[in-house]
């Protein structure tokens, strides 16, 4: 089930945790264009955090064109947001498949999410 998972004691600000997780779900296709996100006050109430925190996350997602906010409709995943496209403009399934394979291999090896992200950051800097 699509959800956000925030740690109030983490060094990363809560709004950034929400932003990153929503962006990630959109990037792998778990959230599709047109999917409605909860209202900011509802998500804030569920998480027990300030409404402004959720609103900042949604604002940053909108600035990155991942979501759009409309009156009466609320916040929805933007058209065109979704799994990475290839050079020709079509959806390239290879990066997503590779990412999933990486996660499976990492979990088998007992690595946690932070370790996996460190691996990816390292690869981005060295490849």
């Amino acid at each position: 089930m699509r959800a956000v998972d925030v740690d109030l004691d983490a060094a990363v600000p809560v709004y950034e945790q929400i932003r990153a997780q929503v962006a990630a779900l959109v990037a792998v296709g778990e959230l599709a264009p047109g999917d409605r996100l909860p209202a900011s006050r509802d998500l804030a109430r569920d998480l027990g955090i300030a409404v402004g925190t959720v609103q900042r996350a949604y604002k940053e997602l909108e600035a990155a064109q991942v979501v759009v906010s409309r009156r009466r409709v609320g916040t929805v995943v933007a058209a065109g947001a979704g799994p990475s496209t290839g050079a020709g403009g079509g959806v390239d399934p290879a990066p997503l498949a590779a990412a999933r394979d990486l996660v499976v291999a990492a979990r088998r090896a007992g690595l946690d999410d932070d370790a996996v992200l460190d691996l990816v950051r390292g690869a981005l800097r060295t490849v």
């Binding site: 089930m1 047109g34 999917d35 569920d46």
Partner: protein
């Protein structure tokens, strides 16, 4: 409807509701789970809390219904008859106590919080059971209005088909002295149900449960709430329609009698079925992500 009867109706609903409310509030607040508890233990505690709330609500609803059923009736006048409203008032009390029960879930204390990325509302949480309840309420209203307009001038009997040279009436017939309290109690039941369902939808996810587990618990709460109210409202109107069918048959109105009895039977069977299935409800389907209206993207 006299002010005294209305006041009695409200007091009978409010007093036991308030007493049980206080007990639920005190016991619920003192049993917040330790954030370090295992998922299995948290889930067990949550199910226990849900069952406690359900039993408390059912107890209050039953008490209210029994008290109203035992309310004295004065023959020969048009003062309100509260007995017919008993199941509806019981349903209102049941929903009111359930609403309070929703406010006694422990607040999240853990630093790690989970929240579903799905919109939740009364309709998404209520589902088909809410549709059934609303349809039953419409049938109940139409029945009461029909009985009110077809009763004799005293409101408690019905005239037999006209035969030259004779006049006769049959009763008791649920005219307006019965119908108005039913409509008032039905309105209270629907308002209380809407409020309780809104609280079910808005409840914060519980610490220690996965999003899917919390969603299943939420759907169980909604199912039991709607099942209990359905039993009161549907059972009440089923009994009223079946009883009226007998009176109409005795008064010499066979077709209306058959129609009333058929409606009563169908509503009664559907309501009892809905209640029984709600007790076993373990809906594990996730709340669907609400699609945007056409043209929103």
């Amino acid at each position: 409807m006299s002010l005294v009867a209305l006041a009695l109706l409200l007091v009978v609903v409010a007093v036991p509701t308030a007493l049980v409310t206080a007990v639920l509030w005190l016991t619920g607040r003192t049993h917040a789970p330790d954030p370090g508890s295992s998922t299995g233990l948290v889930r067990k505690n949550a199910q226990r809390h849900e069952t406690t709330v359900f039993l408390a609500a059912a107890g209050v609803g039953a008490i209210v219904a029994v008290v109203l059923l035992a309310a004295p009736v004065s023959d020969g006048d048009t003062s309100p008859r509260l007995g017919g409203a008993a199941p509806f008032a019981g349903a209102a009390a049941f929903a009111a106590v359930r609403a309070v029960g929703e406010l006694t879930w422990p607040r999240p204390r853990a630093s790690r919080r989970l929240a579903p990325l799905a919109r939740r509302g009364v309709r998404s949480v209520g589902g088909n059971r809410l549709t059934l309840l609303l349809a039953t309420a419409v049938v109940a209203t139409l029945s009461v209005v029909a009985f009110g307009f077809t009763a004799s001038t005293d409101g408690t009997t019905i005239d037999a088909p006209a035969v030259p040279g004779t006049t006769s009436t049959s009763g008791p017939y649920p005219g307006w002295p019965y119908g108005v309290p039913v409509l008032v109690a039905l309105g209270l039941a629907l308002l209380a149900t809407a409020g309780a369902l809104r609280l079910v939808a808005r409840r914060r996810p519980l610490d220690g449960l996965t999003v899917a587990q919390d969603d299943a618990l939420r759907r169980t709460s909604a199912a039991r709430l709607l099942g209990g109210v359905q039993l009161g409202v549907g059972g009440g109107i089923a009994a009223l329609d079946l009883f009226t069918g007998l009176v109409l048959h005795g008064a010499g109105w066979p077709l209306p009698a058959a129609a009333s009895a058929t409606v009563g039977l169908v509503v009664g069977v559907a309501s009892v079925t809905a209640f029984v299935t709600s007790l076993a409800a373990r809906d594990t389907r996730p709340t669907p992500l609400a699609p945007a209206p056409v043209g929103a993207v």
